[in-house]
C-alpha cells in the first residue's frame, strides 16, 4: 500500500512537471482493497487489474521499475512505449494488460481459466477488478454470466467508489445494492469495507480461497471513495464535501497505519523508516528511468503481426 501510494505521488509529480504524457490515473484511497486481492494471488494464478490497482499490481509481482518505465515510455519497459500508464502487463506470465474498454477483461480471465482446466491444472484462480461504473457494461454482464455458466474459479472485485469519472451512482444503476448482482448471476457474493485493510484482507482472502477450493465464481463488492480525481487532470470537484468527510472518505492507508500501531505490530519509528525507504527507492528508480532511452521510431518494426512474414506489405 505504502509503495503504491508513494509511487503514485511520484507519478503525479512527474505528470505535473510534464515528464509523463497522456494521463496519470491514481488509486489513492483504494490501495487497501487493491492490495488485498494482489497478496492473495500466487504464481500460476491469472490477474487482470484495472485502473486503480497499483497496490494489487505490486503485490502480484509488478515492480516500481516497470511501472515508471511504462509511464515514462522507456523502451526498456514491458510495453516499450507502445502502450502506457495503466495499460501494462505480461500476459504470458498471467498478468494481463487491460484494455480501456471496461468489462472486457472478465471474459479474458475466464479464457485463461478454461485453458488451465483443459490442461488439468488445479488450484489456480483468476481475478479481475472493476469499478461500479464498469458493471453497467454489456461486457461485464457477459463475462460474469459466462464465468458462472462454466463454474470458473474467478474472483471479481468491484470497487464501488461512488463516481464513474464524474457520474454519481444514481445515474449509473438503479438497484439498491450492487451485491444483489451476485444472486442474479448465480455466483457467491461477498461484501468488504473498502477502506479497511483488515476487512478487505479477510473478505477477499475468503473469496479467493473459496474459488481455489472449487466453489466457483465469487463477486466481491466494496464501498469506498477515491481520494483523487479520475485522473490527475480532474479535480473531482463533483464529489460533495460531506461525502469526503463521511466514513467512506477515510484514507485506507492512514487507517491501516493507525490500526497497526494500535495493535503494536508497528511503531511510529518503523512506519517512518518504511516511508523513507520506499521514498528513496521510488526516487532512485525514477532518476534511473528518466535517463533511459525513449523508443526510437526508426528502430520500430512497425509490424502488428506476430508472424514475421506478415510484417511487409500486409
Amino acid at each position: 500500500m505504502l509503495e503504491a501510494r508513494l509511487l503514485e505521488e511520484k507519478l503525479a509529480a512527474l505528470y505535473r512537471s510534464g515528464k509523463i504524457v497522456g494521463g496519470v490515473f491514481l488509486g489513492r484511497g483504494q490501495e487497501a482493497l487493491s492490495v488485498a486481492l494482489g497478496v492473495h494471488l500466487r504464481r500460476g494464478d491469472i490477474y487482470a487489474p484495472l485502473i486503480r490497482d497499483q497496490a494489487g499490481r505490486l503485490a502480484f509481482g509488478d515492480t516500481i521499475l516497470d511501472t515508471l518505465r511504462t509511464y515514462l515510455g522507456s523502451s526498456l519497459g514491458s510495453m516499450r512505449g507502445r502502450d502506457g500508464n495503466i495499460h501494462r502487463g505480461r500476459p504470458s506470465e498471467g498478468y494481463h494488460a487491460m484494455i480501456s474498454h471496461l468489462g472486457a477483461m472478465v471474459s479474458t480471465v475466464c479464457g485463461g481459466l478454461v485453458a488451465k482446466r483443459f490442461r488439468g491444472e488445479k488450484g489456480a484462480v483468476g481475478a479481475t477488478c472493476i469499478g461500479e461504473g464498469g458493471t453497467s457494461t454489456g461486457s461485464f454482464h457477459e463475462g460474469m454470466n459466462m464465468a458462472a455458466v462454466e463454474n470458473l474459479p474467478l474472483v471479481v472485485v468491484v470497487a464501488n467508489n461512488q463516481y464513474s469519472y464524474s457520474t454519481p451512482n444514481d445515474r449509473q444503476f438503479a438497484c439498491s445494492d450492487l451485491l444483489s448482482k451476485a444472486t442474479g448471476y448465480g455466483v457467491a457474493g461477498h461484501r468488504a469495507i473498502g477502506n479497511d485493510l483488515i476487512d478487505c484482507l479477510a473478505v477477499i482472502g475468503e473469496a479467493v480461497a473459496a474459488a481455489r477450493r472449487g466453489e466457483g465464481t465469487q463477486l466481491v463488492v466494496a464501498d469506498l471513495l477515491r481520494l483523487v480525481g479520475h485522473g490527475e487532470h480532474d479535480d473531482a470537484s463533483y464529489i460533495p464535501e460531506a461525502m469526503k468527510k463521511s466514513p467512506l472518505g477515510r484514507d485506507c492507508l492512514e487507517l491501516a497505519r493507525q490500526s497497526l500501531i494500535e495493535q503494536k505490530w508497528l511503531s511510529d519509528e518503523e512506519a517512518g523508516s518504511w516511508h523513507e525507504a520506499v521514498e528513496k527507492e521510488v526516487e532512485e528508480t525514477a532518476s534511473k528511468v528518466l535517463r533511459e532511452p525513449a523508443p526510437d521510431p526508426s528502430e520500430e518494426d512497425w509490424n502488428a503481426f506476430a508472424s514475421p512474414s506478415l510484417g511487409r506489405n500486409p
Binding site: 514491458s78 500476459p91 504470458s92 474498454h101 477483461m105 457477459e142 502488428a304 506478415l310
Partner: protein, 325 residues
C-alpha cells in the same frame, strides 16, 4: 470418393485440427450436441468430448474467452453463428485480439469463423460481409476462401498461425460448392496470403474473393462469346493482400474490374484499386472499375437480394463497359 461440400471441408478441417492438436477447442452457440446452426461442427462434440463447447449468447465474452485461452497456450476456434453477430464481439476482436501482440509481445492465436455473405431470404442481419471492417485493423489476418480446397487448408493454416484470424466462410458456398477430394496436407495447397489465378486471360482482370470468384468466372465464360478472354484473380485472403499477383495480372491485361459482395465504401475493392492506381498506374489502359453491393442494407426478398449483390450478369455488364473504355 464422394463429393465434399465447402461446409463439410470446414467441418473436416476442424475435425483434423481437434485430432492433431490438443490445444484446439471450439466455442460457439449451439455447436455442441446440436452441431451448429449450419452443422459445421456436426458430431465433433461426440468425437471430442469437452472440446466443442456451447457458449451463451455472448459474442463479446466468447471472443474474450478465446483471447484469454490463447494467451495460456490454447488454439481456440470461435464460431459466430452469423458474421453479422460478430459486431457484438467487435470490441474484443479489434481492441484486444488485434492489439495484444503489438502491445505486449504475447501472441493471440485465435480463429473467429464468420459464416458470411448473402443467401436468398436472409435479410439485413444474416447476410453481411464483414471482411473490410476487420481488414482495416492492423494485427488481424482476414481469410476469404472461395473454393472447397481453400476452405479446408486455409482453416488449418489459420489454426497454426500465431496471429488472430477472421475466417470469412461464405454461406452461399456451403452447399453449392463441391470438390472430389481434399488436399492431404496443407503443403499441397497455395499458402494463405498468395492470390490464385482462377482463370488466365489477356483482355481484362477481375479481382474477386469468396463467392464473387464464381460470379466472376461465370461472367468470364459469358464474355467468350463476345470474343474476350478474361483473367480472374482469387485473392483468397484480403489481409494480407497479394498486391504482386494483382499487379502482374494487370500488367498482362491492362484493365481491372474488382468485384466484392460487400459495400463499396472503404472496402476491399477500394483498397485493391488504390494499390493498383498508386503502384501500377502505368499498367492501366483504362480507369480501374469496381462492382459491389448496392448501398443499402441487404434486402430480404430474393428478387431484391439478387439485384443487390453483384451477379454473373452484372459482372459481365461491367466488364463490357470496362472493355469499351
Amino acid at each position: 470418393m464422394s463429393s465434399i461440400t465447402y461446409l463439410e471441408a470446414i467441418r473436416l478441417a476442424q475435425l483434423r485440427a481437434l485430432k492433431e492438436d490438443p490445444r484446439v477447442f471450439i466455442y460457439g452457440q449451439d455447436i455442441g450436441v446440436f452441431g451448429g446452426a449450419f452443422k459445421a461442427t456436426k458430431n465433433l462434440a461426440k468425437e471430442f468430448p469437452g472440446r466443442v463447447l456451447d457458449a451463451p449468447i455472448s459474442e463479446d465474452a466468447m471472443v474474450g474467452l478465446a483471447i484469454g485461452a490463447a494467451v495460456e497456450g490454447m488454439r481456440p476456434i470461435v464460431e459466430m453463428q452469423f458474421a453479422d453477430f460478430s459486431t457484438c464481439g467487435f470490441n474484443q476482436i479489434v481492441n484486444q485480439a488485434a492489439t495484444l501482440h503489438y502491445r505486449t509481445g504475447t501472441p493471440c492465436p485465435i480463429v473467429v469463423r464468420l459464416p458470411s455473405g448473402g443467401t436468398p431470404g436472409s435479410g439485413p442481419f444474416h447476410s453481411q460481409s464483414m471482411e473490410a471492417i476487420y481488414a482495416h485493423y492492423p494485427g488481424l489476418v482476414v481469410m476469404t476462401p472461395a473454393t472447397v480446397e481453400d476452405a479446408y487448408t486455409m482453416l488449418l493454416e489459420a489454426v497454426e498461425l500465431e496471429d488472430p484470424v477472421i475466417f470469412c466462410e461464405h454461406k452461399f458456398l456451403y452447399y453449392h460448392l463441391k470438390a472430389e477430394s481434399l488436399p492431404a496436407t496443407v503443403g499441397e495447397a497455395l499458402p494463405f496470403g498468395k492470390a490464385r489465378i482462377a482463370r488466365p486471360g489477356r483482355d481484362a482482370t477481375i479481382v474477386a474473393y469468396s463467392a464473387m470468384v464464381h460470379e466472376a468466372l461465370a461472367a468470364a465464360e459469358e464474355l467468350i462469346q463476345d470474343g474476350y478472354d478474361i483473367e480472374v484473380v482469387d485473392l483468397r485472403t484480403v489481409r494480407p493482400i497479394d498486391t504482386d499477383t494483382i499487379l502482374a495480372s494487370v500488367a498482362r491485361t491492362g484493365r481491372l474490374l474488382v468485384v466484392g459482395e460487400a459495400w463499396p465504401w472503404g472496402g476491399v475493392a477500394a483498397e485493391v484499386i488504390a494499390r493498383v492506381a498508386t503502384e501500377g498506374f502505368g499498367l492501366l489502359d483504362a480507369p480501374p472499375q469496381r462492382l459491389n453491393a448496392k448501398e443499402t442494407p441487404v434486402p430480404y426478398h430474393p428478387a431484391l437480394w439478387g439485384t443487390h449483390r453483384p451477379t454473373a450478369s452484372s459482372v459481365a455488364n461491367s466488364l463490357r463497359q470496362l472493355l469499351e473504355l
